[in-house]
């Protein structure tokens, strides 16, 4: 059973019932789910969690929905891989990669959507909707298919065809909106007020956002019930970055781990870096930006959780970094070539920023670090299509192959002298 007890305003602390609402009536601050942690503490143990399914539902008591409403596509409990070759390449003693490329729709969004859809069914919504340029739409459409719910996906007018197919295959109603990105934002907010649909990142947002905590639960469990010295996560809205820290704290309050001392750092692309820019200026007030980066899954110019992310950096002695589009591609290649994991551009941002933070000494060599890789590389094939080496082109003769190989790479492995 779920131990969610109320929605609580992040600003003024007022509590509300667990309804499909997202902002405080008094101060208009965002609402977040609060749990009966004493109840959880009495009900769960390391053993009871370890005996659960190999999905996010092993943490059901910590989730804000009843598991009977779930649509289980097998999300979560993704590998935490020790990345020794990458660690050596960038100058760390111990590095772990949380590989969320292996989720059902190849991104961490399956975690948040799993919770949103379960809660939407519990509320009795018959339709689910979202506004997205990629990963979120793919995941919502897939889960809606599994739930036999009506699904509406709103996308900007100029979105590439490839991005539409990744949602369209699950047969939702895809709506291209004529107008700017801001117009899509406005239309969806208005629709959410008028239609009784569950808009995953609007009226069920407090529940949806909680799904990201499962990354934090998994990292702590997979490290042997402890938290790392440092963690680097990509930041778009800043929600995932803040929820991982919330997860560590809740695990501690539930008696499962010691008090977390993790330094929490965030990664952004230079072409959309409102949070990192504010961090560098030493302020909690970020200036919204017009995104211009290949890391489109991180292209949120006006991040809802930016303020909270910046506060968390101060609180945990963490930091924020940003990388150019060229460094994003280098980051993708470095991760692929050293660890065999192909990440989308957001992963390139994370690895690029991690590398810079180690090089500058912000992350010390001895700090055990976890990097969150949030989505798979096939999602952003176009970003690296010109960055991979051309094949050797040969005639079907050994001599032709040997000559071409020698010209490009030198001595062949296993060649007789």
């Amino acid at each position: 059973m779920s131990f969610a007890k109320a929605l609580r305003c992040r600003e003024c602390g007022r509590e509300y019932p667990l309804d499909p609402i997202f902002s405080c009536e008094f101060c208009f601050g965002p609402l977040e789910v609060a749990y009966d942690l004493d109840g959880i503490r009495a009900a769960v143990s390391r053993d009871s969690i370890a005996k659960g399914p190999s999905t996010i539902w092993r943490y059901a008591p910590f989730l804000p929905c009843e598991p009977e409403f779930k649509v289980d596509l097998g999300t979560g409990y993704t590998p935490l891989l020790k990345a020794d070759r990458l660690a050596k390449a960038i100058g760390l003693d111990t590095l772990w990669i949380k590989n969320d490329t292996v989720n059902p729709t190849w991104s961490f969004k399956d975690r948040v959507v799993s919770i949103a859809i379960a809660r939407a069914r519990e509320f009795g919504f018959s339709a689910i909707a979202c506004a997205s340029t990629g990963n979120l739409a793919n995941s919502v459409a897939a889960h809606a298919a599994g739930a036999e719910m009506e699904c509406f996906v709103f996308i900007p007018d100029d979105l590439e065809q490839g991005k539409v197919v990744g949602s369209g295959i699950y047969n939702p109603t895809v709506v291209k909106v004529r107008g700017s990105y801001d117009d899509v934002n406005r239309l969806c907010t208005e629709l959410s007020m008028q239609y009784p649909w569950a808009f995953v990142n609007i009226n069920v947002r407090p529940y949806y956002a909680e799904g990201s905590r499962t990354i934090g639960f998994e990292v702590a469990e997979q490290l042997g019930w402890r938290t790392p010295d440092h963690l680097v996560a990509p930041m778009a809205s800043g929600s995932m970055y803040t929820k991982i820290w919330k997860a560590f704290q809740e695990f501690h309050k539930a008696g499962l781990i010691d008090a977390p001392q993790t330094r929490m750092s965030g990664a952004q692309a230079a072409g959309c870096s409102p949070i990192t820019t504010a961090f560098e200026k030493g302020t909690l007030n970020f200036v919204p930006q017009k995104p211009n980066t290949i890391a489109k899954s991180l292209a949120i110019g006006n991040p809802a959780d930016g303020y909270y992310a910046l506060k968390q950096m101060q609180e945990t002695n963490g930091g924020a970094e940003m990388v150019t589009d060229e460094e994003v591609v280098e980051g993708i290649k470095l991760l692929a070539e050293t660890e065999g994991i192909w990440a989308e551009t957001a992963g390139g941002v994370t690895i690029g920023c991690l590398k810079k933070m180690v090089a500058s000494g912000f992350i010390k060599r001895g700090e055990e670090t976890v990097a969150i890789i949030s989505g798979g590389g096939l999602k952003t094939l176009e970003a690296v299509v010109d960055a991979v080496e051309e094949p050797l082109h040969v005639d079907p003769r050994i001599a032709s192959f040997e000559e071409a190989h020698r010209a490009r790479k030198g001595v062949l492995v296993g060649a007789k002298a």
Binding site: F28, T133, Y181, T189, S237, V287, I300, N302, D305, K379
Partner: protein, 82 residues
């Protein structure tokens, strides 16, 4: 009707008395719920009460002053990946 908005001011607009002017130029009642302002940037979360058309006219005027207008707690609704 009451509408909630978040106004973000940049260096050009942060020193102007725009919330005051909003209440004078348009028939809307403004109510500040949260705010933070420093030298070069500031934001205010505002309740606006009045006729819906008048509120829209007021917000169009605010935008024309170079101020960004958003729904208070959501930020960008269109999402990509993380």
């Amino acid at each position: 009707m009451e509408k909630h908005v978040r106004l973000t001011f940049g260096p050009e607009s942060v020193k102007k008395p725009l919330v005051y002017q909003l209440g004078h130029e348009f028939k809307v009642v403004t109510s500040i719920r949260m705010a933070d302002v420093d030298k070069s940037i500031g934001w205010v979360v505002l309740g606006l009460e009045g006729d819906p058309d008048e509120i829209e006219r007021a917000l169009a005027w605010v935008r024309a002053q170079g101020v960004r207008v958003d729904e208070p707690t959501l930020g960008d609704v269109v999402e990509g990946g993380a």
